[in-house]
């Protein structure tokens, strides 16, 4: 009896909050047929927006992967002063509003900001251009790889690494042959989350983007310019990517749990 009660609450909740919106995307996009969808998707603006999004993601994800693994190794295996601070700092982007992130970059790299002089002097534009957008994306998607890898590293323990050392493997060899294979599913899961975050980032990037655009910014732009077809088309594509991400997560997760 109780079981069905909980089940109804749970599924009902999910139906209202999740399933509704999901089906909406489909309906609204194809409300007027396939052709407006295709046109909206393939016009120059949309393509450019997607290009930017992909470029930013292609830079941010590898950076955060390397950083995340290095951080996780330092947090779990080493002891150094300020470790607690590093640990908390890695979690910071999760609790921070993207607007605050965007604003701080705006203040830092914009006119009158601390770093403005450094870059302007060399003719490099940070704010209102790709670099700032990349930095924003890197910051907001910082934690994911590290947070996934840390518990896995902890669980494995370092005996395998010690064994490798006694067998003659150098630090680097041990990392490539022993540590990395052991954490690979956690890394993959973290990379998938990082990618999803980068693709979907809006708030921080919006503030520092200026006239540049990304897929997410384009959705807002289209909507406010009454180009509903465009807005929904891009949204559908982004939603489809999100679903793919979910599938990827679903596939990566069981491996993690049975390890």
């Amino acid at each position: 009896m109780r079981r069905y009660g909980v089940r109804t609450v749970g599924l009902g909740y999910l139906a209202i909050v999740l399933a509704g919106p999901l089906s909406m995307i489909f309906w609204k996009t194809f409300e007027h047929g396939f052709s407006p969808f295709w046109h909206a998707l393939t016009d120059a603006e949309s393509i450019h927006a997607f290009e930017n999004t992909l470029l930013i993601t292609a830079i941010a994800v590898p950076l955060n992967t390397v950083f995340g693994i290095a951080c996780a190794l330092a947090i779990v295996r080493k002891h150094f002063p300020g470790k607690g601070f590093v640990n908390a700092f890695v979690d910071l982007p999760l609790a921070l509003s993207p607007v605050v992130v965007g604003l701080s970059l705006y203040l830092l790299y914009g006119r009158g900001g601390w770093f403005y002089g450094v870059f302007a002097g060399h003719g490099i534009q940070i704010l209102f251009s790709l670099p700032a957008m990349v930095i924003a994306s890197v910051f907001v998607s910082l934690p994911f790889v590290a947070r996934e890898v840390v518990p896995t590293l902890r669980e494995i323990g370092d005996e395998q690494e010690q064994a490798a050392h006694t067998l003659g493997a150098s630090g680097w060899q041990t990392f490539w042959r022993i540590t990395l294979p052991a954490i690979r599913w956690a890394v993959i899961y973290g990379v998938v989350l990082t990618t999803a975050r980068c693709l979907g980032e809006y708030g921080a990037v919006s503030i520092v983007a200026g006239f540049k655009t990304t897929a997410t910014l384009q959705v807002q732009d289209d909507y406010e310019n009454f180009n509903l077809a465009g807005a929904y088309a891009i949204s559908l594509l982004l939603a489809a990517i999100a679903v793919l991400v979910l599938v990827a997560m679903m596939l990566a997760k069981p491996k993690e749990e049975t390890a």
């Binding site: 079981r3 909980v6 089940r7 609450v9 749970g10 599924l11 909740y13 999910l14 909050v17 999740l18 509704g20 919106p21 999901l22 909406m24 995307i25 609204k28 908390a88 700092f89 979690d91 910071l92 999760l94 609790a95 921070l96 509003s97 993207p98 607007v99 605050v100 604003l103 701080s104 970059l105 705006y106 203040l107 830092l108 601390w114 910051f139 910082l142 989350l193 999803a196 693709l199 979907g200 980032e201 809006y202 708030g203 919006s206 503030i207 897929a215 997410t216 807002q220 909507y223 807005a231 929904y232 949204s235 982004l238 939603a239 999100a242 679903v243 979910l246 599938v247 997560m249 679903m250």
Partner: protein, 240 residues
Amino acid sequence: MPIAAVATTSTHGGAAGFWDAVSSPEAVAALRLSLVVAVLVSLANAVLGTATAWMLVRDEFPGKRVVNAVIDLPFALPTIVAGLVLLALYGPRSPVGVSIAYTRTAIFMTLLFVTLPFVVRTVQPVLHELDTEMEEAARSLGAHELKVFTRIVLPNILPGILSGMALAFARAVGEIGSLVLISGNLPFRTEVASVFIFNQIHGGNRTGAAAVAVVLLGVSFLILLLVGAIRRLATRHESA
């Protein structure tokens, strides 16, 4: 990157300027709205999220694996897309016949969507690890179901619920992407803190924006400390 934090604090034209900016009626209204809605959403999540987690861990039904994966949808979906879709769902010309866009209810519903995964995902592993033998022992000692839940299960999953709530709160307070379209930005009525900052930046009022941003920053730090404290409290029982 820590400089990002420093930078925000640097620009508010002096302490007096800061206070003025923060205590302007619009800013106060925006902050209040953000905080109140965030609290409500966290509470809703605590109850509904726990129920969902329970269902996923303890119950078996066809398609469970899919449902489990779908929980993460708000995590994976770009926030602006979520906002757009929810606007279509609840706004004018809505298929469901509801028209609450540009209202506070809309903000609540949107944030509920966005924060859905948090409590569910923090409670799930705890529930999973929970030794059902404890519950069986309680039953054999004569406790009836509700008692078993409140006295045995709840105390053990409470840290999970609390940290999920804290994360949901932090997310709700700072959320921008999904709200930018739906909330309508009516100052004093539906303008949340994050949107307020957004508007201030576009309006050139850096001081005002920075001031409110500092408040949000403070909230974020508090949340982080809270989550850390909860984590430490929880593991206290484990390292026996």
